[in-house]
């Protein structure tokens, strides 16, 4: 016999988007059942770098950083190009600051250091311990008394009213058997992407075959396929790209290391640069995978290495140095020998780059800043010199269901699938061509809350 459970909102997925949505709904008086397939919650959110892109925060003001929702939106547009959904960018920009305040009000602690990273014109990476953040949201959910968490329970099929077509629940399955979860107001898909599903990755991103895949074990596209089966439209499926900076053979660190955003250059096995290193690390990843062996090296000197930020995982260079992940040498020639690139080529590449920094003009790739529109370039000249082997890693699929700005899932004809909402990595259209640091985890929280408000019928304001 199939067990049954009923709530105002059924949330599928226990990561940042799922818990943000559940908490928002519960705070507005709704009852919520949250289904998580894995035995423990957290998903890819907990494994992430913990970076959140917020603009106009009190932390920024205290550090003299002028940032606004408009500038954030402009950066997102610039990154995403024509493929990014303007309405979703507006939705993110309009709701992100309230979500920052909401997080703080719930007791979330942020690292005191703000950094500029991929796609950011000013420092706006607000860093948290992501696993702790999900645990905090989960604890706040349970404290409301309105959220019931069911782990080890995977969503299998969405249920629709045969007359109206409205989504009314989900058939789930756990070790104890099937479960009919009925939703009075709607189902929120927050089930993550599909980086752990090789078939889907091969189908949508065959060029990422040689990339490293990292993500929550449960990220196999459950929500995507359930909505797809109902005719949901998909966005950005052609934009799946690996993120640059993953050490290709290190199994201990799941995060990328972005020395390039502090002044390093990226060279291939021929000892030559191949890209403007200030671009979004999604574009760097795509360029890297086109190089011989799908790998490259970030080349830097001692001052750049010491300019890292130990509070931000993607900029924590010293820990990786201690772990033996950097290759070190007293001269560029010796470094070239160690990484087996032609000595003369690497020496020339570094010399040409330094000359370009002096002249204020990078003739080869027109790099103007450390990252996006931020930071002045620096020479690579002070020993010891370092190489960080780097390839691209697919941390998230950054594509998925088409939604409107209220996070209602739309079908292939642009019509709402009533009763069905989506948030987090399962949503497509927001990032477009490239990706800003902190916008994926940020979108999980911001869109999760918007989806919940829409589902409970209170979708205005933060």
């Amino acid at each position: 016999m199939t067990a049954a459970i009923e709530a105002d909102i059924i949330v599928i997925g226990g990561g940042a988007a799922g818990f943000a949505g559940a908490l928002e709904a519960a705070e507005r008086g709704a009852s919520v059942v949250l289904l998580e397939k894995q035995p423990e919650t957290g998903g890819s959110s907990a494994m992430s770098g913990g970076c959140l892109a917020f603009a106009g925060t009190d932390m920024q003001r205290a550090q003299g950083i002028e940032d606004t929702a408009a500038l954030l939106a402009r950066d997102l547009r610039q990154l995403g190009g024509d493929d990014a959904d303007e309405a979703l960018i507006e939705a993110y920009a309009a709701n992100q600051l309230a979500t920052y305040d909401w997080l703080k009000a719930h007791g979330q602690l942020f690292s005191p250091v703000l950094e500029a990273s991929s796609g950011q014109s000013v420092p706006r990476v607000h860093t948290v311990d992501p696993a702790d953040m999900v645990r905090l949201l989960a604890a706040r959910c349970l404290a409301t008394g309105r959220v019931q968490l069911v782990t080890g329970m995977a969503g299998r099929r969405l249920r629709r009213d045969s007359a109206t077509g409205r989504v009314t629940g989900v058939l789930a399955e756990g070790s104890a058997g099937p479960l009919e979860a009925r939703a009075r107001r709607g189902v929120l898909l927050a089930s993550g992407g599909f980086s752990r599903n090789p078939d889907l990755v091969r189908q949508f991103a065959p060029e990422c075959e040689h990339a490293v895949f990292i993500g929550g074990d449960g990220c196999v596209g459950d929500g995507l396929r359930m909505a797809w089966a109902l005719g949901a439209d998909l966005r950005d499926m052609a934009q799946i790209k690996g993120t640059f900076g993953k050490h290709p053979t290190d199994e201990l660190n799941n995060h990328s290391c972005l020395c390039v955003y502090k002044g390093a250059i990226a060279v291939n096995q021929d000892g030559r640069r191949f890209v403007d290193e200030s671009l979004s690390y999604k574009l760097l990843g795509a360029a890297c995978l086109r190089q011989p062996y799908g790998a490259s090296f970030q080349i830097l000197d001692e001052p750049i290495l010491r300019s890292g930020d130990n509070e931000v995982r993607i900029l924590d260079f010293e820990r990786r140095l201690e772990e033996g992940l950097f290759i070190q040498a007293d001269t560029i020639e010796e470094l070239a020998r160690q990484i087996e690139v032609p000595e003369a080529a690497l020496v020339k590449t570094v010399a040409d780059y330094n000359a370009g920094v002096n002249a204020g003009e990078d003739r080869e790739f027109s790099r103007k800043h450390l990252v996006h529109n931020h930071g002045a370039l620096r020479r690579i000249e002070t020993a010891p010199f370092y190489a960080y082997p780097s390839t691209a890693a697919v941390y998230g699929t950054y594509c998925g269901l088409r939604v409107d700005p209220e996070m209602r899932v739309l079908d292939v004809f642009g019509e709402r699938i009533e009763g069905l909402f989506a948030a987090g990595e399962v949503v497509g259209g927001f990032h477009g061509r490239a990706y800003m640091t902190g916008s994926a985890l940020g979108k999980a929280l911001v869109f999760g809350r918007i989806a919940a408000r829409t589902a409970v019928g209170a979708n205005s304001g933060g």
């Binding site: 053979t249 799908g294 033996g324 390839t391």
Partner: protein
């Protein structure tokens, strides 16, 4: 100088061991399908050999992976570090927990390789089932000077120098030829990462397999059974989060610690 590094590999501890049994009538562990990796001691030995190779153009480095066909991925992993030569010594039919038989096998393998090593390197424990006796036994059988649990071997004009820590004391030994050094893992001999280029090239390399003569497979020790001991279940410990006002929590914790201190054996 001929440097030969012997590598055993272990069953990867990252994965839970669901099953383990003897293959019928062989006395060998059936490790079919279990992922293998190098132990920290294997890695220390390999990195030491690579450092010697990098420091001295005259050093010729041969890596020997000991195991059956399931160890071929380990051999490819070694090839990615570009030793001068890398071979798998086929141990089909032998369990390394039988040290006397293993010593005979390894000796025959070295002869079969045609290698007359000046320096033999291996981990302080050789594989999953050696408790540290094998390196010393092999040194004795080969007539080598033995230096155990070294954390470094450095090149020098009058012969390589092996170094180890004994409590607060550092011990050094000039190594004559032949010598056998067992390595312990240390921050300074952590195995480097191979370059992607060399990983790609290693995938295409033809593997060299050496099979010692069958007479060396005679077993001295028979194992009759083998099984997995299940780990304790998660959450089995007595654990409780203190509740109530902070003062009450502190008082309860203090009471607990007072009682706990009294139970500590003197």
């Amino acid at each position: 100088m001929q440097v030969v590094v012997l590598l055993a590999g272990i069953v990867d501890p990252k994965w839970r061991l669901e099953r383990l049994a003897l293959r019928p009538d062989t006395g060998q562990a059936d490790e079919t399908g279990l992922p293998k990796r190098f132990s920290p001691f294997d890695e220390a030995a390999l990195e030491t050999a690579l450092k010697l190779r990098d420091a001295e153009p005259a050093v010729r480095c041969t890596a020997v992976v000991v195991g059956d066909a399931a160890s071929d991925p380990l051999l490819r992993a070694v090839l990615a570090f570009r030793p001068h030569r890398a071979v798998r010594l086929d141990t089909s039919g032998l369990a390394l927990w039988d040290p006397l038989a293993a010593v005979r096998l390894l000796g025959a393998a070295l002869d079969a390789l045609g290698a007359q090593p000046d320096l033999l390197l291996m981990g302080r424990e050789f594989g999953d089932v050696d408790d540290g006796v094998l390196p010393a036994l092999l040194a004795e059988a080969r007539g080598c000077l033995f230096f155990g649990q070294a954390h470094a071997v450095t090149p020098a004009e009058d012969g390589p120098l092996a170094v180890r820590m004994r409590g607060p004391r550092e011990e050094q030994q000039r190594l004559p030829s032949p010598a056998l050094v067992s390595m312990t893992n240390d921050r300074g001999n952590r195995l480097r990462h191979p370059l992607m280029k060399n990983i790609a090239l290693a995938k295409r390399e033809t593997l060299e397999i050496v099979s010692p003569p069958p007479r060396h497979f005679a077993r001295a020790v028979e194992a009759r059974s083998l099984s997995v001991v299940p780990p304790p279940s998660r959450g089995a410990g007595a654990c409780r989060i203190l509740g109530g006002p902070l003062g009450a929590q502190v008082a309860e914790l203090a009471d607990y610690l007072r009682g706990w201190r009294g139970e500590v054996p003197q």
